[in-house]
Symmetry: C2
Subunit: 205 residues, 2 copies
DNA sequence: CGAGAATAACGCACTGACTGCAAAAATGCG
DNA sequence: CGCATTTTTGCAGTCAGTGCGTTATTCTCG
């Protein structure tokens, strides 16, 4: 990795750090791009060559997460889709390790802002595409069919619920973070089974 | 209803109609507030005393829908939450009747725009609050607990899936529109049951 | 009907996110 | 070092959205 790329990476981190700090201090809406640029020692215009929008500075890791889920689903062989999702999540939580100050502040900023929560949800829905695709392959249906879309949407929604409700403390350890996951998966698996049954016997209630 | 209110209503409709028409013609992004104002024969500034944002002009009926769901849940007596939701949906579909030109164009505009889909989802998530509350009452849990939140999120997501995938034709009749609903409810009910079981016997897989 | 109060429409000036473009600066390479 | 490439920056502009004061309209009450 050349000097150029290392420098770019450093600048990106500086912007991110400055942005999260300012958001936490004065609030998201009360912080302007100009503020962030000044704190990160760049020109305001430069901000947008690192991040496409003000919101996106809080979700820079999303693309990597998305790709890693897609890869995992593609490489799951004949394992169950939900098993693959579970493995992906535990891996994610494991990789993140103990949340640092920046991560905590970031979550807090997001949770405090309706608009940012919506943005996060919008990102989350991108997961639905890959999940629906995987389910479609597994069931022999098309990705546009109701069942794959439903399972994907419910799974994505379930993942969203994993984040503790605002005001609740962050989970301390990995085991504690995983406990709700099993509830979510139990819920989803039961639903998936019900759909399977319905496909075999449509008259069932 | 006095002249004032009638006139306001008429203006609101005029703005809505002009906006949807222009969005359909030139696209959402290529249409400015000034364009809409001109077409609706109002001053640009006036637009914002009818709608809080450009997006919201496409979702003027949301508040009424939300209230009607909340009322129905509040007045459901000891009926099941999901039954109440089902009743609400059939009532909605019934009340809408045959979709007119404006409604069709509106859906098309929304479906064609990532940002608008996200906005719609954001609105949909407001349903989660009331649903979680109702589930909490029914189960004796708190609305912030995982199970009510999960059920509410999955239900809201399931409702979102009811809209046909982009590119698919709108359902022609009421029966056709209701068919996917039963799949969604079967999915949700199975999940709810699984959570019930888990609460009684946490060691269960 | 005719004040005058209440409410709605409007114009204006402003903020702030975001974009296109072209000049200037930094960097990498031979 | 000098040249090509990439990055940074400044500038001017668009557009959504807001605050505020003014004008026009409608309602109410005498």
């Amino acid at each position: 990795m050349g000097l150029r790329e290392r420098k770019k990476e450093k600048t990106a981190r500086a912007i991110e750090e400055a942005a999260v700090r300012l958001f936490a201090e004065r609030g998201y809406d009360a912080t302007t791009i100009a503020d962030i640029a000044e704190a990160a020692e760049i020109a305001p215009r430069t901000f947008f060559s690192y991040f496409p929008s003000k919101e996106s500075v809080l979700f820079s890791d999303f693309d990597a997460k998305f790709r890693s889920l897609a890869d995992r689903l593609a490489a799951r062989g004949d394992a169950d889709v939900l098993d693959a999702v579970r493995a992906w999540i535990t891996e994610m939580l494991d990789a993140e390790g103990v949340p640092d100050q920046l991560m905590i502040a970031r979550h807090q900023v997001i949770d405090d802002n309706e608009e940012l929560l919506a943005f996060e949800r919008q990102l989350t829905t991108r997961f639905e595409g890959v999940i629906a695709e995987a389910v479609a392959v597994e069931t022999g249906l098309e990705p546009q069919d109701l069942h794959p879309r439903l399972i994907a949407a419910a799974t994505a929604a379930g993942l969203g619920v994993l984040r503790p409700a605002p005001g609740t403390p962050e989970p301390a350890g990995l085991a504690e973070a995983l406990e709700p996951l099993d509830d979510v998966l139990a819920f989803l698996r039961a639903g998936v089974l019900a759909l399977d049954r319905r496909r075999q016997d449509p008259s069932r209630t």
